[in-house]
Subunit: 372 residues, 2 copies
DNA sequence: CTGTTAGCGCATTCAA
DNA sequence: TTGAATGCGCTAACAG
């Protein structure tokens, strides 16, 4: 990036077709400013706009908010003044006055986990064009921290909260929802200020295991999630149910506890081998641990899917690019974020709330194969 | 954080957790009466606290901010009132008054890209305990959108901005920095309100290619990033320099343009094969495209690293769990986020700004091997 | 249609 | 030490 090459005649991409006041003051950067335009650094206030337009503050406010009809004449004057001063309403003042911050709080458990990021992507898209911004905080899988974070969000006067994979109790959620509406994943809640919805985890892993069984597998290992995690527990149940339906005896030696991270997937496989278990397929409670399992298998010289089949859960963005691409149960992460956000906005605006989350589905890629 | 007996320096509501202790920590989570508030849902105001404590609002404010000495007697009364009403200062009001929002804006280009998420992780950690929260927005690799987003952030009165991989010109950054301090990656800027720092991309890919050359490779393909991206261009230069230093002729047939995504990595490899290029190693401009390359190679039955060596750039969290684990150039993503944030906070607080970013380094894992 | 008058909740003068 | 005023910038009655 060179600094001097830009020809001044090439306004970057700013439309604000206002002419910069030639001299006036500042712009000490030594280049004609086509960007921030207004030129001065002192943030303009609505009152100044009113003054330079020769109208009252309320008139400016009315135009900004479309609160009442204003004569074209004055409107034009105000528009000009706004353009000239590059005015933008102070959101803190607006917020104080209106009692809403145009901000929603998002509670995740791990910023920088592809699981949450994909959901955040959906949130972000749903927020686009609404005027709302989001403040993202992390509870780090810890109820106490989660509560503290939610309190912080509340003090910031967020207009609503989205709680992703929260660890706090439903009662807590209900409590908080008395202050601000909350939409939460992983719960069944339906009040006018709190909404929770959950996916059928049991069904999801049932799908995965049934798929394996249909391929002829009978000795299927299962890598669980943390024992205190409900999603994890439900997925284990799905595994058990699928086994049962196929009259395959449940063998707890084939179940190894993981923690949803890659490393635990590796450890799980190692443990299975250390304890000499026989199995032809592995079902992991999430994709990340499937990745770890895959690597451990690779290290042991075991081929996937030729020697052992592997299936994950989540369908993270990276799962279609693993080697080989991972067969997994797709969670509609993006949609969850998008729909949760829309629902929250609906609640905030007193509109009808509608949620229809796409169901879980099995995505068969290349890590599973018929037993020989 | 926070010794809050006499040092008034850090008010915010971190104190609240301390204040709450007697009440809310003594009982178990989820017991309704101790969680969200004493009882009512109406957010308490400082005035109410003053009233129930029998003092003036200013006294409460003084205690909250440590602005002046207050008799122990009144202090106690106020503390009690705060605890009882579960009061937390309205940040919008505080913001309006003090002119700062205790919020910083982060501009990324792609929420839900592991590249940015890892950096955000660093940001998040650096913000911990400071009282600041962050609003994350995405410019989607588009200068116009980026400008719009920054304007939004400014209207929200963020106290500072961190710009990650921005597409706007340095001049624009300088302009914006007249309003709020900005720290940006990928630039060299040093003013009192704007700081930019960049990593040595050229050196990074030079490291990668030299590694390949040392392993005996001479026909090394290179998958670039988008042609309009500086980082990408610099990495290509590093590749060329390494080749030159080893007296290996540059062959532009071995250079294929990608876009930093997995799919382009696949396409690149396919293209190389379609055009019958001979090569024993592939250097990708980033990890994501290396993942794609890896998959394409797998599909073609070509082994990595036995038949072809592969090296990436970034060292994303997932790169140590690919099959096999990816040799790559590590960017200190987390550190970048953390350091940028600390620097921004320093600027905001008028403190000395210090930045020392760890250098790029080659992480040799299992996708590279000596030619036979 | 438009201007004037009050505050939103808080921090900060200024007196006392 | 403390309380009483005075806005921060904006919107929402309330009159014209």
């Amino acid at each position: 990036m060179s600094e001097n090459h830009d020809s001044p005649s090439n306004p970057h991409l700013n439309d604000m077709s206002t002419l910069d006041k030639p001299d006036s003051n500042s712009t000490k950067l030594g280049s004609p400013s086509t960007l921030a335009s207004g030129d001065n650094d002192a943030p303009t206030t609505l009152i100044e706009v009113a003054r330079t337009a020769g109208v009252s503050p309320s008139t400016v406010s009315r135009i900004l908010n479309g609160t009442a009809k204003v004569s074209d004449e004055k409107r034009q004057a105000v528009m000009d003044a706004i353009a000239k001063t590059n005015f933008a309403p102070n959101q803190m003042a607006q917020g104080l006055k209106k009692g809403k911050s145009m901000t929603i709080g998002i509670v995740v458990q791990d910023i920088s986990s592809p699981f949450f990021d994909e959901t955040l992507h959906g949130v972000d898209d749903a927020l686009k064009g609404t005027g709302y911004a989001s403040v993202i905080v992390s509870g780090h899988w810890n109820a106490a921290e989660e509560i503290e974070r939610i309190r912080l969000l509340l003090a910031r006067k967020v207009d609503g909260i989205i709680l992703l994979s929260g660890r706090i109790t439903d009662e807590s959620v209900l409590q908080f929802s008395q202050h601000r509406p909350i939409v939460s994943t992983g719960r069944d809640i339906h009040t006018d200020k709190a909404l929770g919805f959950k996916l059928d985890n049991e069904y999801g892993s049932w799908l995965a295991v049934r798929h394996l069984i249909e391929l002829g597998h009978r000795r299927i290992a299962f890598i669980t999630g943390p024992s205190n995690n409900c999603d994890a527990a439900e997925r284990l149940t799905g595994y058990q149910r699928a086994l049962q339906e196929a009259d395959i005896p449940f063998d707890d030696k084939l179940v190894v506890e993981g923690d949803f991270h890659e490393s635990s997937g590796m450890r799980a496989i190692n443990h299975l081998f250390d304890t000499q278990q026989q199995f032809t397929a592995v079902c992991a409670a999430n994709d990340l641990s499937a990745y770890g399992a895959r690597l451990s298998l690779y290290r042991k010289g075991i081929r996937v899917p030729e020697d052992i089949s592997l299936v994950g859960f989540d369908d993270l963005p990276g799962s279609s690019y693993t080697t080989p691409p991972l067969t997994t149960v797709k969670q509609p992460l993006y949609e969850i974020g998008r729909i949760a956000t829309k629902a929250l906005l609906n609640i905030i605006n007193g509109e009808v709330v509608e949620t229809s989350i796409p169901p879980l589905e099995l995505v068969v890629r290349e890590t599973t194969r018929r037993t020989r």
